[in-house]
């Protein structure tokens, strides 16, 4: 089982993500520096939260142009799983791996709190640990999480079951279109989400509702390895 966390200058949830991955997979993820333009063979790539390049210009914009992103795209094209959390989600939209954009929160303020999410679609390896319609509580912490896309794109995302999570009604912290909190690419191997599942894997901290994502990924990936 090979996992990697990509580290950009200004990433700051890279350690948290590595801890969550190691707890689930039992092996330490490779920490890959943004200037590396080649990646080893991997099963899961995680783009962590933080402020890559200070979030200057646009969140995720500069990271989406970094050498390592080209390698991430190649792997995504081959079907390797890519999970972008928070700033990682912003990098995925900026790089075109996911549609739409994450704009400034509607009230213009940074928001850090627990939010209630509803699982919308379980049709991807990321979501195996969850049940459709299940409500979970996971923290958010971002300034630019206001998901925007044109209506055609939104309709397509919904029609294709590519909305992984929505904010529960009345708990939309940022003004996202159709309460979208996380989306998948067409193939279902790239997930971007604003909430932080990696912060919710320990009952002493922010609860354990994020844990199912990582245990689900382990279940999803282990048979692949055995077949391979």
């Amino acid at each position: 089982m090979k996992t990697a966390v990509i580290v950009f200058p200004g990433s700051n949830c890279d350690r948290d993500a590595a801890v969550a991955l190691e707890a689930a997979f039992g092996t330490r993820p490779a920490m890959v520096w943004h200037r590396d333009n080649e990646l080893p063979d991997l099963d899961l790539i995680l783009l962590p939260g933080g402020f890559s390049y200070g979030d200057y210009l646009r969140s995720g914009a500069m990271a989406s142009q970094s050498p390592v992103l080209r390698a991430v795209k190649e792997q995504a094209d081959k079907g390797v799983l890519v999970l972008g959390i928070c700033n990682g989600f912003q990098v995925l939209t900026e790089s075109g791996l996911l549609p739409g954009v994450l704009m400034r929160n509607a009230n213009l303020k940074f928001v850090c709190r627990d939010v209630d999410l509803v699982v919308d679609s379980t049709a991807s390896p990321f979501m195996r640990g969850y049940a459709t319609g299940q409500q979970v509580t996971v923290p958010v912490a971002h300034h630019d999480g206001n998901y925007f896309a044109d209506d055609a794109t939104l309709n397509r995302l919904e029609g294709d079951g590519r909305v992984a999570f929505r904010y529960a009604a009345h708990d939309n912290p940022n003004g996202s279109a159709r309460d979208i909190a996380g989306i998948l690419n067409e193939r279902g191997n790239v997930l971007g989400m604003m909430p932080h599942p990696e912060r919710a894997v320990d009952p002493k901290l922010c609860g354990i509702d994020g844990k199912a994502m990582f245990t689900g990924l382990v279940e999803a990936l282990v048979p692949t390895i055995m077949e391979g």
Binding site: L57, Q65, V101, M103, R104, A106, N146, F148, G175
Partner: protein, 80 residues
């Protein structure tokens, strides 16, 4: 050569910042303010002295980095 780049949101794209500014102006008592849109204004110094080449080069910068062309337009002005 100095260049000025304006990056603005495309029509129809939601502009939370512009909207918030509009609201704030209203509540400060400024009346008759209609639509407000906020964009970016980037000033660059370039070695390039040929205007056509400079423009092409900056266009490339905008496409690659300065603007998110899914939601933003850009325009380039060259100076001196």
């Amino acid at each position: 050569m100095k260049a000025k780049v304006h990056v603005t949101l495309k029509a129809g794209v939601l502009d939370p910042q512009g909207k918030a500014i509009g609201h704030a102006l209203e509540s400060l008592g400024f009346e008759g303010v209609g639509d407000v849109r906020q964009g970016k204004f980037i000033e660059l110094d370039l070695d390039e002295t040929d205007p056509d080449k400079a423009r092409a080069r900056i266009g490339e910068m905008c496409e690659k980095l300065l603007a998110n062309t899914v939601i933003e337009n850009y325009s380039i002005d060259l100076e001196g």
